[in-house]
């Protein structure tokens, strides 16, 4: 027992060393930069100036929007995939997972083509006579949210799918036999029994949204400022590494706080069979 555990630890050693070198060390370095002056001035600037607070607020707001729309689109999709026939489920999964295997850069540029003023979407809508002039879909929050929802949707669909699959079909049959309509079966059985999946998906999407960079940078066109975009600017344009580090540290803490809060919510339900 103890020797097999020892062997396991030995096998895990390379990964641990790797993590130490490429993760813990840079994080420590970054935190070091942010307090280089021996004071917390950079933090005071990050959290004290309205401009930067606005960026944090923006980031949270966009993450919230993205989470909301992912849930709105992802729950029905995950539910459908979990309850349909195996053939349809496989076909559906290909569509859900295909984007995950495509470069995020490619997908984001594709959205730029679709959403631009003279892009595919506006062209279609104008041709169909639904709108008279092009809608502003790119280089604003709308575009960023659309792009991010697309990228993050699978992270919502998969936990929901798993949660729905774990609901015993006999329980659903029992509810049906006891007189429940399909709406009520959903509300009284599926929804409460899949809350964990919803929650897990929402936390993953929200946390990933907080640190998102490529999509907001490209689809926002510099007009939608999210925290990761701001950090990149501080590093590349103003070369203010200490301030960038402070911003990153705040983002890290915020992310960990979200995780910790989520843990408290999820735990009591974990014992569910």
């Amino acid at each position: 027992m103890s020797s097999s555990r020892g062997a396991g630890a030995l096998a895990a050693l390379p990964a641990l060393v790797l993590l130490l070198c490429v993760f813990l060390f840079p994080v420590a370095r970054m935190l070091g930069y942010s307090v280089e002056t021996g004071t917390l001035d950079w933090y005071a600037k990050a959290l004290g100036e309205g401009l930067y607070l606005q960026v944090f607020w923006n980031t949270f707001w966009i993450a919230l929007l993205v989470t909301f729309f992912c849930l709105l689109l992802g729950y029905p999709l995950g539910f459908l995939l979990a309850t349909t026939t195996p053939g349809w489920a496989t076909a559906g999964f290909i569509f859900v997972l295909l984007p995950l295997w495509t470069s995020i850069l490619v997908r984001t540029y594709a959205w730029m083509v679709l959403l631009g003023r003279s892009g595919v979407l506006n062209g279609l809508l104008i041709k169909a006579g639904l709108i008279s002039g092009p809608l502003p879909l790119l280089y604003n929050v709308t575009g960023v949210v659309i792009g991010m929802v697309h990228v993050l949707l699978p992270y919502m669909v998969l936990p929901v799918y798993g949660a729905v699959r774990r609901v015993d079909p006999a329980i659903v049959a029992a509810a049906e036999g006891l007189g429940a309509t399909s709406t009520r079966i959903f509300r009284r059985i599926y929804l409460p029994l899949t809350l964990n999946g919803i929650f897990a998906g929402a936390v993953i999407v929200f946390v990933l949204s907080l640190g998102f960079f490529i999509t907001p940078a490209l689809l926002g066109g510099g007009k939608v400022m999210m925290i990761a975009v701001l950090i990149e600017q501080e590093v590349h344009e103003t070369l203010n590494w200490p301030f960038a580090s402070a911003l990153a540290a705040v983002l890290l803490v915020a992310t960990l706080a979200v995780y910790a809060a989520a843990q408290r919510f999820v735990r009591p339900q974990e014992q569910q069979p």
């Binding site: 049959a173 049906e176 006891l178 009284r188 029994l193």
Partner: protein, 345 residues
């Protein structure tokens, strides 16, 4: 609780799944207040039949009638049938009280009335005091009771039990069997019980329908099923049995395949091919004698179970009251059976 039991008529029901025939022209009548057991090995179609009655499967042909009304195409939610599932299928996120109240809420029963009836049903299955527990905080037997209370609280017209005691240990199973029987009698509830356990079927039922390969082999009272099975399958499946085949001869006898003449209780027209059933516990002396050697002897506490290889090649299982020493293997022995104890089919 006010029983409003109904009678059930299943007529000419067939169901196939692709190439597999699950039910073949099954017809069954169940009287109001009766407990009928559908007994069969796995794959015999008994669960499919139950699903057709409950509404979870639509038959390819045939009809299901409750009190004369055709419910074949009615969805389960509108059938008013209580069902206890194999693994109880309790709602894991709801308390005992909420599980039991579910059907009443779905029917829009007033809150006070729900409270009263849930209390009644929970008391009926002797779970008073457990209302606020979650299913996972209950033992298997208690979960079983919750499932039962949930199935009867809305005064269903029929109660269906799908192998409900499979997961319980033997002692608890016996207690629950008697309890279900008592409850069913008290409420006068028309009940279909599904099992593959022939002993359980004998203990519980008014009548037993024995199923095999999608068809009903025999429907009869428990004693009739045991004493006078309709064919080889029933004789073999219900209880321990010695089944041999032969041809009837004049004067109430059967000539067995090995050439032995067997005297049977009733005279039959000569020349018919028949099956002959001799229950192991009926070898307590009589006009038919079998001599041979004991090839296997098992002590069962209350009885000895012996395997006897007769001199003419016939093999018999014989049960004798356990008195004295267990006969040793190789002992020569002669047993007899009364012609009236032999069933010919």
């Amino acid at each position: 609780m006010t029983p409003r039991s109904a009678d059930l008529r299943v007529e000419g029901v067939s169901k196939r799944f692709g190439e597999v025939v699950a039910l073949e022209d099954v017809s069954l009548d169940i009287a109001s207040g009766e407990l009928l057991t559908i007994l069969g090995p796995s794959g015999s179609g008994k669960t499919t039949l139950l699903k057709v009655v409950a509404g979870f499967e639509r038959p390819d042909a045939g009809s299901v009638r409750v009190d004369g009304a055709d419910i074949t195409s009615l969805p389960p939610a509108r059938r008013d049938i209580g069902m206890v599932f194999q693994n109880y299928a309790l709602f894991p996120h709801l308390s005992v009280a909420a599980n039991v109240a579910f059907s009443l809420e779905m029917r829009g029963v007033a809150r006070a009335e729900i409270g009263r009836r849930v209390g009644e049903a929970v008391a009926l299955v002797e779970l008073a005091g457990y209302e606020q527990r979650l299913p996972r905080q209950l033992s298997g037997g208690q979960q079983q009771r919750v499932a039962l209370a949930r199935a009867i609280v809305f005064n269903p017209r029929l109660l269906l039990l799908d192998e409900p005691f499979g997961a319980l240990d033997r002692k608890l199973r016996e207690t629950m069997q008697l309890e279900v029987r008592r409850l069913q009698r008290r409420l006068g509830l028309t009940t279909i019980f599904i099992t593959h356990d022939q002993e359980e079927a004998l203990v519980l039922s008014d009548r037993i329908a024995v199923m095999s390969r999608g068809t009903i082999q025999q429907v009869a009272t428990t004693t009739e099923t045991y004493e006078h099975p309709a064919n080889d399958f029933v004789a073999d499946f219900v209880g321990e049995s010695n089944v041999v085949h032969g041809v009837t001869a004049d004067g109430g006898s059967v000539v067995l395949e090995g050439g032995r003449h067997l005297r049977v209780g009733k005279s039959l027209e000569a020349g018919r091919k028949v099956g002959v059933l001799m229950r192991p516990e009926r070898f307590d002396g009589g006009a038919n004698f079998f001599s041979g050697k004991v090839t296997e002897a098992v002590y069962l506490g209350s009885a000895f179970k012996l395997r006897l290889a007769c001199d003419d090649g016939l093999e018999l299982i014989v049960r004798q009251p356990a008195r004295g020493a267990l006969p040793a293997v190789g002992t020569a022995m002669t047993v007899g059976i009364d012609p009236d104890s032999i069933h010919v089919f």
